[in-house]
Symmetry: C2
Subunit: 552 residues, 2 copies
């Protein structure tokens, strides 16, 4: 048993969760991990290609699956993973769970931090695996699947550690009853809910899955991880590290299992509906997410689709604003759940420090900033990354057919490193506020809509309505007027949508920082859960108290 090797890390993370200042356990810059790490990570990644993946400690499979294709090379990775039946997965999880449930949370947390340290050694491998399954740039792949995901995992561990220590394991209860005192010895246990299932997505296979995995584990539940069949390798590497650390510490590695499946024979529904699966974390499209939320007798945590707004009212420096927004739009080709989509701009334009800027001029500046970024040979390809799949590519290429006026037509982007990369630059459409049917849907990928409104009050009303009816994970707003700012905050917050005001420079609305920003609020249709508030933790276990009369 590791005892309290990582107590200091846990204590600091608990404190950071409360304070919500900037905090990070895992530095986000690749250079922090040594000179040689990148090259050796690349070599390790390449050695995984065209091989059966053999690092898992899951036993008993005779079948293998694998269908990953790099969005950069369009080649099959050729990696296969062991596959299991739902009954095998559930039985193994159930058997592994008992010892874990009876392990004190301090020990569980310590072992889980040790798994993160083991994952740290794989950051570069995981980065290349993420790049060649999701289409993210190398830098985003490294940060999102590496240090940022580990930080969010640590955040969940710390929240669990704190919540499970909330009540004493034993307490003497002494009630004065006149001349006598009634005495009971009480015990309080946080009993894990059951077996967890974490369903991953194809664009953020690690970042979106780690909070649920670690929240399940720290609260004592075994977890089965069902990745998207096109993005298995990044999370398979993480799970292999978790399994190894569990095994080394005398625990059953089946506490955290990979449930790889195929597009032809998916396991997801059967897993969701298995009576012993009581906790489900889901990231993905809204229609399957709504199905998961509708399951009776399950505790469900979802992140689904949303329609994110930008409200433009008034700015100090319009160049800084449009450059910031252009980057937010181009980053990973709009395939982030936090990417802005609907830009609400008043028909009379916006106020700037240099005077009023008309609607057409504002739209033109946004369009030009995006075009400039896309066409910047040092920035374009690296910011856009690749498009994860052909469906998204097709939708982006056909965006002009949605309606409205095409201000910028997306198309191929040259990529010096990967000539076959699946790419499409953003399409910018101008629509009117009457075009609800166009802008009330999530247009996942590189498509944005500039919506002409009557005025800022109208913009706020529409942004609020979109968030309330269709969900929103972010809202960017630009205003120099404190009254307007207060109004935007009140209206968007009332539909449980956070607002990022006046972002310029090296910070973008797409980014949510561990230990400080709640990712998704859980209050609107974009999802019912939040990384990582108390609800994300406390719904995974049940407080049960026993009592005994103290004999004299």
């Amino acid at each position: 048993m590791l005892a309290t090797k990582h107590q200091n890390t846990i204590d600091n993370a608990v404190k950071a969760n409360h304070e919500r200042r900037f905090y990070s356990q895992y530095p986000e810059h690749p250079k922090a991990y040594g000179e040689a790490a990148a090259a050796s990570g690349m070599t390790s990644y390449q050695q995984l290609l065209n091989q059966p993946f053999d690092r898992l400690l899951q036993t008993g499979s005779n079948e293998r699956v694998g269908e990953e294709v790099s969005p950069y090379t369009l080649e099959n990775l050729g990696i296969t993973y062991p596959s299991f039946t739902v009954e095998e997965l559930v039985a193994q999880a159930g058997a592994a769970g008992r010892q874990w449930a009876n392990t004190p949370v301090s020990n569980r947390a310590d072992i889980l931090v040790e798994t993160l340290e083991r994952v740290k050694g794989l950051f570069f491998e995981i980065a290349y695996a993420t790049m060649h399954t999701t289409g993210q740039s190398f830098m985003m792949s490294f940060q999102a699947s590496g240090p940022h995901a580990n930080d969010r995992a640590l955040e969940a561990i710390a929240m669990g550690y704190e919540e499970l220590h909330r009540f004493p394991a034993e307490q003497r209860w002494e009630k004065p009853m006149g001349k006598v005192t009634l005495q009971l010895q009480k015990t309080f246990k946080a009993v894990p809910r059951g077996i967890g299932l974490v369903i991953g997505c194809s664009t953020f296979p690690v970042w979106n899955s780690l909070p649920g995995i670690y929240a399940d584990l720290v609260t004592g539940n075994p977890v089965i991880v069902k990745p998207h069949p096109k993005a298995v390798l990044p999370i398979a590497l993480v799970i292999s590290a978790i399994q190894q650390v569990l095994h080394e510490n005398g625990f059953d590695p089946h506490l955290c299992q990979l449930a790889a499946d195929s597009s032809a024979q998916p396991l997801t529904t059967a897993l969701c509906e298995h009576p012993r699966i009581t906790l489900i974390d889901y990231t993905g499209g809204s229609s399957f997410g709504d199905y998961v939320e509708s399951l009776r007798g399950k505790t469900v945590f979802t992140e689904k689709a949303g329609v994110n707004s930008v409200i433009l009212d008034s700015v100090k420096d319009v160049d800084a604003v449009v450059q910031n927004l252009a980057f937010a739009v181009c980053l990973y080709s709009g395939q982030m759940c936090t990417a802005p989509q609907n830009f609400f701009i008043p028909e009379q334009g916006i106020a700037t420090a240099a005077g009023n800027l008309g609607f057409n001029e504002t739209a033109q500046q946004i369009r030009d900033a995006i075009a400039a970024l896309v066409n910047n040979p040092k920035m374009g390809a690296g910011t856009l990354g690749a498009v994860q799949n052909d469906v998204t590519l097709q939708r982006a290429q056909d965006a002009a057919r949605l309606g409205g006026k095409v201000l910028l037509q997306g198309g191929p982007v040259p990529n010096e490193e990967f000539s076959k990369a699946r790419m499409c630059s953003p399409t910018v459409l101008e629509v009117t506020s009457a075009d609800h049917n166009i802008y009330e849907k999530e247009l996942f990928g590189p498509v944005i809509l500039l919506v002409k409104t009557k005025n800022t009050a109208h913009s706020i009303q529409l942004a609020r309505q979109m968030a309330e009816q269709h969900g929103a994970i972010t809202c960017a707003a630009y205003t120099t007027d404190p009254v307007v700012k207060e109004k935007i905050a009140e209206e968007m917050n009332s539909v449980f949508t956070p607002v990022s005001f006046n972002f310029t420079g090296l910070i973008w609305v797409n980014q949510h920082a561990a230990f400080s920003d709640f990712h998704v609020t859980g209050g609107n249709p974009a999802g019912n859960a939040s990384f990582t508030n108390q609800e994300f933790i406390v719904k995974r276990f049940v407080w049960v108290g026993n009592r005994e009369v103290v004999s004299d």
Copy 2:
């Protein structure tokens, strides 16, 4: 504004919630409230009879409803309450909510404690109102609807106060980026979920409703209270006190509304399904409870029916045990959700300090202890109270038809004070472990089943199965063997059922103490919520964070 008049009370309650020692803000003994209080409470209660109830500050009603009948006198109380349409109630709640949502939680908590102090002045009136609607004895009416309910309300206020202070309202986030530091000003708000609805039951109209009412209010949500039409007066008195204190402090009394309805024209379903009602607390039968839990887009807290077990393995003093159990069975004629129903006894009997006691002898002792209590002229009527309604009475009178062997036939009990009281002493039936169809249902009221099992392991298996499949709120177990004790705890806790071991003397399995015992765990079919764990609080609001770039 009261500022921090009750800060000390709140701080002590927060501490008590953590420690889970004995703690009480409101003494449970009537004598603690002064010599004159009982008589003046009786007078006030009598003045309410046969009158329109006029203490509410709700406006705009032209209709009145009222159909309460005393289980002691079988006479109609003759009290009518103003009635409102669902749209009126929801509109008033929505209008009242805005100011409350923007009031700091410290002020909300302070005002809410002040309402409890006001309720304290009505304890005796509420006691008589409870007695003559529920059929509880005077002492239970006083304690359950008075100090015990107030303590549970304070527990919820304190949990909300702590949770809403968990994160800072403002924080500066400073991220080092090489030569520059990125600075964001962040704000964190706990945004209330919407409008709450609390649906009461006819047996514990105050105790079971106050936690939901106060949890909604402390987290910033207005609340509509829909009592059982046969038990309105006790909670109407509480609501009148809440409304008066809100009004005196400049808040809209419609933050907490009474939604009285009639058996002929119930409002419950229409309230539940109104889109602006987003939080529902429900106490009552399982079939309506299952419906409430199935509603999409609502956050629901339920306490439904359960089948509570007693596991008899071995005892030190059999007389002390059967006396304790007899009292637990007779208390309020088995109409407590915590009352024991199924007594699992091994066919070879139980071990006692005086040697083995056979099954028949054990059964006989339980039967005799109940008969002795019922027939004790100083104890019987007062312990049993009255039966709340005719359906329960009929079921109790017909219990022998359920099957099995009748060890004790329930029937009328003389009541010196109320000659017409609706009463029925407990029926004791002996059944076999094969009689699932008899013992797997909740038999609400004065009926218990002695189930003959193969051995204690079999008893545990059946008790566990009942809790898992049909729900359980309590389990009483008697064993002198530490290994058996551990086994019972593990098995019952695994189905989220707390165990009370070896209760004798002045403590009964039916009792759950505020600040220490979680009432219902929320983990089995008896209910999905718990008084008062964190989940009971944190699901009522949403953390939303805004960010702004700090300008130089």
